[in-house]
Symmetry: C2
Subunit: 360 residues, 2 copies
């Protein structure tokens, strides 16, 4: 019987980023040194050059904490971990740059999803209001379309150091809209090191594995630019899986994910309908135990429940057959419901503030 | 004997832009309707869709007058015609947008010429001070790196509507630095039609023939964007040829061109050393006459001397052998000297203003 409550089949899918792309595994001293569920539970699965940021953290010296989200739809729990880790790194002493990427979202998404910049800005208000309600501070965030002139200038400036061959080698394609969106992403990651901001300083950006090509590209560009930059570091996280088997948590399939604006009862219902690792019958479940490593309810708790001792017990009760899926779902549904009720309260003030930040 | 004082061998090189790329010749009613030496003397050699701007001019309705220069070196007389035509179109009732393209210059020129944005900005001050001394008004000009946020946002926004295939079809290459510079050029040409500026309105941009691909590209993009835009029009001018045979007026060969900051005596000397259409001996010149159609001194006068009657006489005196190259050069050298002496006076105040505009 597995004794690792943090393992899962989903995580096993990520093996190739280590083998094929040279992402490094999180070393044990960092995993245990940073007290956050994302490290403890293996949600932060790998990194590029993060050791130098870790050294800054343990020695109490500043570093750049730069992460962002593209405003291409409503925020769901799949995005929440990015915000949670950003907050954790802020508390570790980061200089904070959380980007609300509205121009990027418009330019890089098809018109069928984001037909105009105005639509991307509406999502910017929605996303930002949730981020603020989740605990981000106004002064930690910026909206791409409201950024200072120096940032845009720098995005064009760095374009000079990208060659077609580098781009093709990393991305395998050359879509000009995507190239332009990438310029902004590179500017997002690098601009905090400009003399006008923090100056040369280790930086860390939290990304999902599929965004790793951007990190490779931006590290290549950072070395070519006529500035003295630290090569930016990255933490790579696994995706919160969707609530249905074989599905990612995806905006386009609402039953697979819980939105932060979902009414608490709707969210609870989605949990009750989720795919679990339960056995076909109660008898088999009691005898053989469940399979948390494939259970989407357990994954949801792993990404979101703060109490690791409780989760370990839940895991053991599941694999030993002491708890059935129905009970577990009820507990989880109640947890989500209470979370969203508290979130709704915090959201009230956040929406107005978000509108002011996005529209000025 | 040729009776066209405005013809030249240089202009004949431009034939392919009509045949291969569909640029139209300036119709006679426009050539005679617009009272400026650039039309009268065939310096404006072609156009795209200019009739609708002309209709605006003759009916006294507004149009957008949008032209710019890349700040990739010191300004010389080869750039002066662009500024002269811009001023003329301003007087015709244009809404004026003269772009000092510093980011473009840095991004699109090799590091060996423009190693940093700071260098491009130094040239921006130099170029802008001459433009102001030549009669542009502070409120008619903008510097790319000092432009409003909406302009940058729009440059990224329009990137969504450029496909790799369009780009390759028009430019035949796909250099990412150049793509980024092009985004700014497209934004320069189109942004005056945004609702935040003039709104939908015919616009005209004065370009040299080799920039015509940008006009084709920007007209293609204008039609795809989610805005109601008039397709932008263009006037295409011939280059002022260099002072040496077989040479363009080029910054990298100082003896081929007269810089606006050249000391008047230096400029006069360059004229005295210029290539002419004279005969090998005085006897032959008196008997056969000179060839103004290949003479670089005559071309210089054609682009710069305001007095058409005087120029016609000079042409006739040359082809009939009444005037020798030495006399003609002396006259021209004196003209340049006086021009640059007056220009130096105007430049005094312009430099300080240009610095304020570029550096804020």
């Amino acid at each position: 019987m597995s004794i690792d409550p943090w393992g899962s089949e989903i995580i096993e899918d990520y093996e190739r980023i280590f083998v094929d792309f040279g992402v490094k595994r999180i070393p044990e001293y960092i995993r245990t040194g940073l007290k956050h569920i994302s490290f403890e539970r293996g949600i932060v699965i790998g990194h590029r050059d993060f050791e130098k940021v870790y050294q800054r953290i343990v020695s109490g010296r500043p570093f750049i904490n730069m992460t962002g989200i593209a405003t291409s739809g409503e925020l769901h729990f799949g995005h929440k971990m990015i915000i949670d880790i950003f907050k954790f790194l802020k508390d570790c002493g980061g200089r904070n740059y959380f980007a609300i990427c509205d121009i990027d979202a418009y330019v890089s998404r098809p018109d069928s999803r984001i037909p105009s910049l105005e639509v991307a800005k509406k999502y910017a208000v929605e996303n930002l209001s949730h981020a603020l309600a989740l605990g981000l501070d106004e002064k930690d965030v910026y909206v791409q379309s409201r950024k200072e002139r120096r940032y845009y200038e720098f995005a064009f400036e760095l374009s000079k150091k990208i060659t077609e061959s580098t781009f093709r080698a990393i991305y395998g394609h050359l879509d000009i809209g995507k190239v332009a969106a990438n310029l902004l992403q590179y500017a997002d990651i690098l601009h905090p090191q400009l003399p006008e901001y923090e100056g040369k300083m280790p930086s860390v950006t939290v990304i999902a594995a599929e965004q790793d090509p951007h990190i490779r590209a931006v590290r290549d560009i950072a070395a070519r630019l006529p500035y003295d930059f630290e090569l930016p570091s990255a933490l790579i996280i696994v995706h919160l899986p969707g609530l249905k088997a074989g599905r990612k948590m995806s905006k386009s399939e609402p039953e697979t994910c819980i939105f932060l604006r979902d009414p608490p009862e709707v969210a609870a219902k989605k949990i009750m309908n989720a795919f679990t690792g339960g056995q076909p019958t109660v008898e088999e479940q009691r005898k053989l135990g469940g399979k948390p490593e494939i259970c989407r309810v357990y994954e949801f708790l792993k990404f979101n429940h703060p109490d690791s001792a409780m989760l370990r017990k839940m895991y053991e009760d599941c694999v030993s057959g002491r708890i059935l899926c129905g009970e577990c779902k009820l507990l989880t549904a109640e947890f989500v419901k209470q979370f969203l009720e508290r979130h709704r309260e915090k959201l009230k003030d956040a929406v107005e503030l978000a509108e002011r930040i996005v529209y000025g």
